[in-house]
């Protein structure tokens, strides 16, 4: 009998009950006894020397407890914030890792860099006092744009990083790729900018630091996606505190999208300051502060070339990318434009030769790191944009050029020339399903109808593939990761048959409390409502790596299954003991153990009870208790893939772009909860469309001031900017994990920008426009249209 709340069912979410009634517990909702409040003094300059800090006035204000600076941290031997991934330049030299002090020492390197920390009895008091801290700066010239920062004579972000170059990295076979270009019948070239974005989880970051003198233990409540990673980085590298003395709690977290993976300065500062001042300190970020402190995303400039034979068969792809790192290396910054990017440049195509060169550059801007998709949206965008232009130049239909180059399903497993081995996928099928759903054949009619209303209509495709579920630790380690990337799970039966599952994955919107319980309900035959999922507290859960890169179900979920398997193995022994047979004679199905010979049965709840009341156990061969742990390290990445079809309409007189329809066909492997998976796709599409049409993080090129530093200036997608989506899945199971799952968190953000922009370019192509940068705001589009009309007239 199929479990109505098991794998494959759209079970309504358990966690919703607290969120819809206002009873969620986010970090800022937590109030600790005697709590005080912290506020950061931050740099108003993109680059400056700190000449002096005078806190006298601030300290004299009512309720002010302390003003701490970089000098205080240095005196306590506090370390810098570490980077978790070592990338080597093509000459073999390690990337440049300049110091990243949690509170600035003598230099500030971006607007928002933290300079001092003020602690007071109230939030308002701390804020007022921060305004009264007098910092004397000597402003310096700033390096703002990455390409300009590489030029000789550009201002240096770090004196010890010549030319602002963090690394000059390459991937793929250069000689073979150059050879492919020599033999090409046609080469399509395209320069694209992947616009810098601000992740903008609606919950601003927050942290509470607490120190208990009696036990010499610290507790940090923080808005993170991976509490154990924070504990490890902060304990080992920054505060030099043994992990046993550190507890990191990530309670309900209001969205992350990557931006809450990283170890941020504020976490280290509140924790350190808690002991130093003997206070419990809460810091909650203001939105304006988030804009200048949360790690940003994307910010690539790429020149790409695609070599083809006369039939439009791809022979080679060459890309040169400049990626901004911002002022410091954030936790996983170095891996994003390298191993998460160039390895995906094959996309769904059988291009035999690929070469990528990436220069990572320090600039006087907020650090850039992983944001939903992280490297993979950049790869997909370049590839799908250049394929679109190639089709036009080769006079091939956009679907035909793809069909000629897609990796066929029969070629799976498929080894790409950029080091990944795709295990499964039926790309052509996704394309067929997408085109049919979107009525590709009927487009011309719709275009005509739009034209009658003064609108230009375009249709755009993107076929994406991503590598997620990171990672096989051995592969990640060989590529420079400084941590393992497995996941941990513990399945604990209680004597009365209910179950608590402790997972190293972290939910900040993904719905693990529901999905993971569905997996356990199916595997163990325990009623769904008897299963509780615990995450987010290093004192409760086993050492886990957290949630990012769409890894929760594919790594964390599989770890839970492995723990369930161990539970079943042990339970069989217990059942065999009670039923007076041997474990190999016991069958297990739907929560019931059965002796094949006698047909006698025992439920899993009865087994659990026996395990905890082991009155006549043979204790030399059978331990009491039913509580198993598993660490799962995947064998390969998983490869979600799909086909997106977008239609846009552009108003001829204003250049305003609106999405007329959006169809998403995704292969996520086996789907555990279709409702939740659809929701993940919707959210990813919202962010992908946001990047394509609205969002842009803009700095003043000279001063390095953030111009789009608030919701008044940074265009977040609103409900009336987005369409209703048409989403569906095609399930080709992953071949190397027991659940057959691939992960679904990032797909929408990866595949959407190219689909939208291809549609925009398609709509404008009659005007001779072959590219337009994101975001395609009405202003950008209108200007491009004017430029094209003018060109035609000249």
């Amino acid at each position: 009998m199929a479990n109505p709340n098991g794998i494959g069912a759209s079970v309504r979410r358990v966690e919703d009950n607290r969120f819809i009634t206002g009873r969620g517990t986010y970090t800022d909702d937590i109030n600790r006894p005697g709590q005080t409040y912290g506020w950061f003094v931050r740099s108003p300059h993109a680059a400056a020397k700190i000449k002096s800090i005078n806190a006298k006035k601030a300290l004299a204000m009512p309720g002010v407890i302390a003003v701490l600076t970089g000098a205080d941290m240095a005196a306590d031997n506090i370390g810098g914030l570490p980077c978790g991934w070592l990338v080597k330049s093509k000459d073999g030299s390690p990337m440049k890792e300049p110091g990243h002090p949690p509170l600035a020492n003598d230099r500030v390197r971006h607007v928002g860099d933290q300079v001092a920390f003020v602690i007071a009895a109230t939030r308002e008091g701390a804020r007022d006092a921060a305004d009264a801290v007098e910092v004397s700066y000597e402003p310096l010239k700033a390096a703002v744009d990455a390409a300009a920062a590489l030029k000789p004579g550009a201002p240096l972000v770090h004196d010890d990083v010549p030319g602002n170059l963090c690394y000059d990295w390459e991937w793929g076979d250069k000689a073979k790729t150059d050879e492919a270009f020599k033999n090409a019948a046609h080469v399509t070239k395209l320069k694209v900018i992947n616009n810098r974005l601000v992740p903008n989880a609606i919950e601003p970051r927050a942290a509470i630091g607490e120190y208990d003198r009696a036990s010499d233990r610290y507790t940090l409540y923080t808005t993170t996606q991976n509490p154990h990673v924070i504990r490890l980085l902060m304990g080992a590298f920054v505060l030099h505190v043994p992990e046993s003395k550190l507890r990191v709690v990530a309670p309900d977290v209001g969205g992350g999208f990557g931006s809450k993976i990283f170890h941020y300065a504020e976490e280290a500062v509140v924790t350190w300051a808690a002991k130093k001042t003997g206070q419990t300190i809460k810091w909650t970020c203001d939105r304006s502060e988030s804009f200048v402190t949360d790690a940003h995303g994307r910010d690539h400039t790429t020149e790409a070339e695609l070599a083809m034979d006369k039939n439009g068969k791809f022979l080679g792809l060459r890309v040169h990318t400049i990626a901004s790192m911002g002022a410091y290396l954030s936790t996983f910054a170095s891996s994003v434009p390298t191993y998460l990017y160039a390895t995906l440049l094959a996309g769904q195509y059988s291009t035999p030769a690929i070469y990528a060169n990436v220069k990572a550059v320090f600039t006087n801007t907020v650090p850039v790191d992983a944001y939903r998709g992280a490297g993979r949206p950049e790869a997909c965008y370049i590839l799908e944009r250049i394929v679109e232009n190639a089709a036009r130049e080769m006079k091939l239909d956009k679907t035909e050029i793809r069909r000629r180059n897609l990796v066929p399903a029969a070629a799976m497993p498929y080894m790409t020339p950029v080091a990944l081995q795709y295990d499964s996928g039926n790309f052509a099928h996704n394309l067929d399903v997408g085109l049919k759903a979107a009525d590709y054949a009927g487009f011309a009619k719709r275009k005509e109808a739009s034209a009658k209303q003064g609108k230009l209509r375009g249709i755009g495709l993107s076929t994406y593939i991503e590598a997620c579920g990171i990672a096989p630790s051995a592969v990640a380690g060989a590529l420079g990761a400084r941590a393992g990337l497995y996941e941990a799970a513990e399945v604990r039966f209680h004597p009365t048959g209910t179950v608590t599952v402790f997972t190293g994955s972290h939910s900040h919107g993904q719905g693990h409390e529901t999905t993971f319980a569905q997996v356990v309900a199916t595997k163990l035959g325990v009623p769904f409502e008897n299963i509780e999922i615990v995450h987010g507290d290093t004192d409760r859960i086993p050492f886990g790596m957290g949630t990012y890169g769409s890894r929760s179900i594919a790594v964390g979920g599989v770890a839970i299954v492995e723990a369930c398997e161990k539970i079943i193995t042990k339970s069989k022994k217990i059942a065999a003991h009670v039923l007076q047979t041997t474990a190999d004679k016991i069958d297990f199905e739907d929560g019931v153990f059965k002796d094949k010979a006698s047909n006698k049965t025992m439920t899993i709840a009865e087994v659990a009870f026996t395990a905890y009341v082991p009155h006549n156990f043979p204790h030399d061969t059978l331990e009491p208790g039913l509580d198993e742990q598993a660490f799962y390290d995947p064998k390969n990445f998983t490869y979600p893939n799909g086909c997106y079809v977008c239609e846009v309409e552009i108003a001829q007189d204003t250049g305003e772009v609106s999405i007329a329809s959006f169809y998403a066909v995704d292969d996520f492997g086996k789907v555990i909860n279709p409702m939740i998976v659809e929701g993940q796709v919707h959210g990813g599409l919202g962010q992908g469309i946001g990047q394509a049409l609205l969002e842009h993080c803009v700095y003043d090129h000279q001063s390095g001031q953030l111009i789009s530093g608030s919701y008044m200036d940074y265009a977040m997608p609103r409900a009336d900017n987005l369409p209703s989506f048409n989403v569906s899945t095609t399930e080709v199971p992953c071949t190397h994990n027991v659940l057959g799952v691939k992960g679904c968190g990032e797909a929408g953000a990866i595949g959407a920008p190219a689909a939208v922009m291809n549609a925009v370019v398609d709509a404008l192509s009659n005007l001779g426009i072959n590219h337009i940068e994101m975001p395609a705001t009405s202003q950008n589009v209108w200007q491009a249209m004017q430029g094209a009309t003018k060109k035609a007239a000249d």
Binding site: F19, I202, E203, G509, M675, S710, M712
Partner: protein, 157 residues
């Protein structure tokens, strides 16, 4: 810092507190009354995570001083359900998976209820336009729109 005495009815209970004059309504609710279901997502009155009802009107509580709500009747997300009986709009949000991280959700639900009170049968376009002051970064709004449609319908009954 001058302080002021503020009295209002919150979720049907009358409260009186002496607070600094500059206290915002959202901070009055969160910090002084412990009603942390109302959230703060921005500092420019854009996101709507803080939406509550003041005398039946949907208002951004980050943009109102507590003192301005003196004498008013305020409803927050905590005041919608009757015991274990969810408000129809809350039930619709769960049914349609209209929330992921849940941070925008209280504001979205309060806004949805306000819309349904103004207009009992809103169209998709009307819903999307009414949400111009509410951000959600997780859902792409698709399911929120469906939930408000359903919730409004259920409120008619």
């Amino acid at each position: 810092m001058s302080s002021t005495s503020v009295s209002m009815t919150v979720n049907g209970k009358s409260v009186t507190k002496e607070v600094p004059a500059r206290t915002l309504l959202v901070s009055f609710l969160r910090d002084h009354l412990g009603l942390t279901g109302t959230h703060v997502g921005c500092d420019t009155s854009q996101c709507g995570a803080c939406n509550v009802h003041i005398d039946g009107k949907c208002v951004k509580s980050c943009t109102v001083l507590a003192a301005q709500a003196d004498g008013a009747s305020v409803t927050t997300i905590e005041g919608l359900a009757k015991g274990d009986q969810l408000h129809p709009m809350q039930a619709a949000f769960k049914e349609h998976h209209a929330l992921q991280c849940g941070f925008c959700t209280p504001g979205m639900i309060m806004t949805g209820v306000a819309l349904a009170n103004e207009k009992s049968n809103p169209s998709e376009t009307e819903i999307r336009e009414y949400l111009e002051g509410n951000f959600c970064r997780c859902t792409g709004y698709h399911n929120i729109v469906k939930a408000i449609e359903t919730g409004a319908k259920a409120m008619r009954r």
